[in-house]
Amino acid sequence: MRDAAVRNALPARLLADAAVIGVIAVWWLGSRNLPAFVLPSPWATGEALLRFFTDVKLMGDIAATGGRVALSVVVATALGIALAMLPFFLPVTRDIVRLRILPFLNAMPSLGWAILAVIWFGVSDVAVIFAQTAILVPFCFINVSQGIEEIDAELLEMARSFTRRRGLTFHKVLIPAVAPYVVAAARLAYGVSWKIALIAELFGSERGLGFVMYQAQTISDPATVIATCLMIVLVFVLGDVLVLRPLYRWVSPQDRNKPLPSL
């Protein structure tokens, strides 16, 4: 199997690249026979995508969405850590967190948060950030508590036998042990956040990429809808490569050479 995989690596890659070209060709042919409000041509979509790099207002929309994503990831990660740490320091709260708060947050539809946020906070940045944070918290919680569970009990015991200062144990043992999971949690939240950013923005905002997309849909401009989706993928990958991957390698030096899972 492994030999076959190696032998097939180049043809498989070629086929994948050929397929991309094929899809664009079919898309182009299809768009010639279909009206532009159903399927825009690849060029029209490309033009719409280029506008994100030239139009100052659209750049502002990217910045608005990006800022909300960054802020909600930070807040959700902090809340996730707090929720995951609570049973660790206060064992009696374990069932509250695991059997009550977490299943509830998990089962709550993201759209529900978005609509409630608009009712509660009006059309504002606060509404969007609240909705996104509420959606992201369970993802962060699960990852961080996995990290806490995997802390070696003997490692903690050893640390305690060296020092009685809890602050020092916390700083030298607990934080380095949990940090990789925290960053992994933030990374996961970041991936989810870009996908749901627009849901929250459709109802709770007057700028940002979700707003751009919704406006494009109401005037039947699918080129801009598709271009916005592609732009999101682009910004998302950029943020992952420039910020989160380096951060992950920094907090977990032992995994430096391991390939990171793609999101």
């Binding site: 043809p11 991309v20 009696v92 709550m108 759209l111 849901i199 459709l202 993928v233």
Partner: protein, 255 residues
Amino acid sequence: MRSLSLNTRRKLAAHLFVAAVLIIWLFAALRLPGYVLPAPLTVLEQIGAFLVSAKLAGHIAASIFHVTAALVLAFVVGTTLAVAGHYVPITRVLIGRLAAFLNSFSSIGWALLAILWFGLNDASVIFVIGIIILPIYMINMQAALDQLDADLIEMTASFTRSWPRAFSLVVLPALYPFMLATTRLAFGIAWKVALTAELFGGNSGFGFLVNIARQDIDTPRIFAVIALMIMIAYLADRFLFAPLERYLTRHYADA
């Protein structure tokens, strides 16, 4: 308090927590206007309305239908693609790339495109839910195929040269537990995504109701829909997926 075991105290704490949340909700609702935070009893009344009104019950059925249809479609297409990627190695990169693309595409983008392509109807909703959970099936079934016991496959190859026989008698049964686990995960996501898909592209279901309630600022209705959705998701997981998973694991996991 000290004499109780930790487990009992944990359970007690969880129940007390729920009671405290309800009491806080009750008092907060008294002080806040009904459209911001409806009283628990008002929400309960609304939930009751779903059980007696045939029209509202019909919307529940519509949502269940949308999710089920999307799950079936995504299951068939996703599993087929994963099997193709596994047995026709040359397509593996292509299918991996497709999964990565689908996985990073915004769900709202699909919803808005579906309206333009199919209009406001069941097809739009099923398409949106289906295409959002499709990469989950592709990625998970591919991982499952990769994890199959190599010795088992070798043994099968020594018994028969007929690929369809080997596939249907050995590989497929070995995949059942993975299929169910993936469906369980996909159901949880599909059920939540259904609300988005129906709100933008549907003319029936929970999302449709929420959209009307949102325009009327009918907050009790929104609370009731969310509560019902959480209840149905819980019931399905507890009484459908969990027993099925136990059954399949017992019969096939050791195969």
